[in-house]
């Protein structure tokens, strides 16, 4: 992730807009989202970095771990001063992979799957599989 992207392109932002309806160019990188994100410490990219990569058109963001750890808690969205629904942007980035049929969770490989309340499994299946 240290290599700078040499070609800036609007393609990724366009795809994200098509799925989420969110205009990532409204973000001016204030960082409130990352400050409030409960999972930020475990992410490889902070939420504001994720959206910056979308602004630059860097498709490596689709391979980041951050978008898959997002818990859909909406903390970023309620704090964004530009009213960007960052949760929807994260979902759009996930869907770009999921809609190709590449799933990030194999339900059959979860240990002790029967111990979890069904709400946890259903939510995980919704967000991490197509």
């Amino acid at each position: 992730m240290k290599k700078l992207v040499t070609k800036i392109s609007p393609e990724l932002a366009k795809k994200v807009f098509a799925i989420s309806g969110q205009n990532v160019y409204a973000c001016y990188q204030c960082g409130k989202c990352s400050a409030g994100c409960p999972i930020a410490d475990e992410m490889d990219l902070l939420p504001n970095q994720v959206i910056h990569m979308v602004q630059l058109g860097d498709e490596r963001v689709l391979e980041s771990k951050a978008i898959w750890l997002c818990a859909n808690c909406f903390t970023c969205t309620v704090r964004c001063p530009r009213d960007i629904n960052l949760t929807a942007v994260m979902e759009a980035l996930r869907l770009l992979t999921l809609r190709k049929g590449i799933y990030k969770l194999d339900l059959r490989k979860i240990e002790h799957v029967e111990e979890f309340p069904q709400i946890a499994l259903i939510a995980a299946a919704r967000k991490l599989t197509g």
Binding site: V113, Q118, A124, T129
Partner: protein
Amino acid sequence: MTTSVTVEKKPKTKMVKIYIMGREYLVPEGLTILKAMEYAGYRLIRGVGCRAGFCGACSTVYRLKGDYRLYTALACQTTVQDGMYLVQLPFVPAKKPTYDIEKLTPDLSSVLKYFPEITRCVQCNTCTKVCPQEIQVMDAIQAILRGDLATAAHLTFDCIACGICSMRCPAEIVHYHVFQLVRRLYGKYIAKPSKHLRERIKEIEEGKFREELDRLVMAGVEEWKKLYAAREIEP
């Protein structure tokens, strides 16, 4: 390039044009898909079974004239229609899981252990729409997700495991295997044990019917024929 089957000496029989695996055939109206395929000369060794709508072997996919939709049905229970374009399926190759029913508990966790993908159900209801037995498949899956195995067992009593629902499911659920596990759990752990069954088993073990059975075995073909002809037939 079409092939026609010649009509027999019954000119009054109305014929309909159907397409089997892409080839055109004229078959008498009123035949089931299965009989129509045999009329056309096919000898079926897969995708055929009891011919009575009970075994689920004869799943067929077809479309109708002037309609873009794909329909599914059991070949032995559905009559041909003019313009029907059909394909017969040998079977649905879903994997059967192995489990020891003695070691399972009659609740949702046992089902999730073997079929966690039922949590992916989006309730699109496609399964219910294609079921040839008119089972409320989606409701059964949802009942299982709620932990209500008894309702699911009752709803799926008529399931013949034809596999059509599983082929169309966007969540890749194999419904009939799930239902089989649920019915087994229900029958073994939840359903009330049948008093009459237990009593009858006891009687058999005590030898109540031994003499009668021995007599029957020794009776011989002529006696059996007489007994068979005179048997009680329930209305």
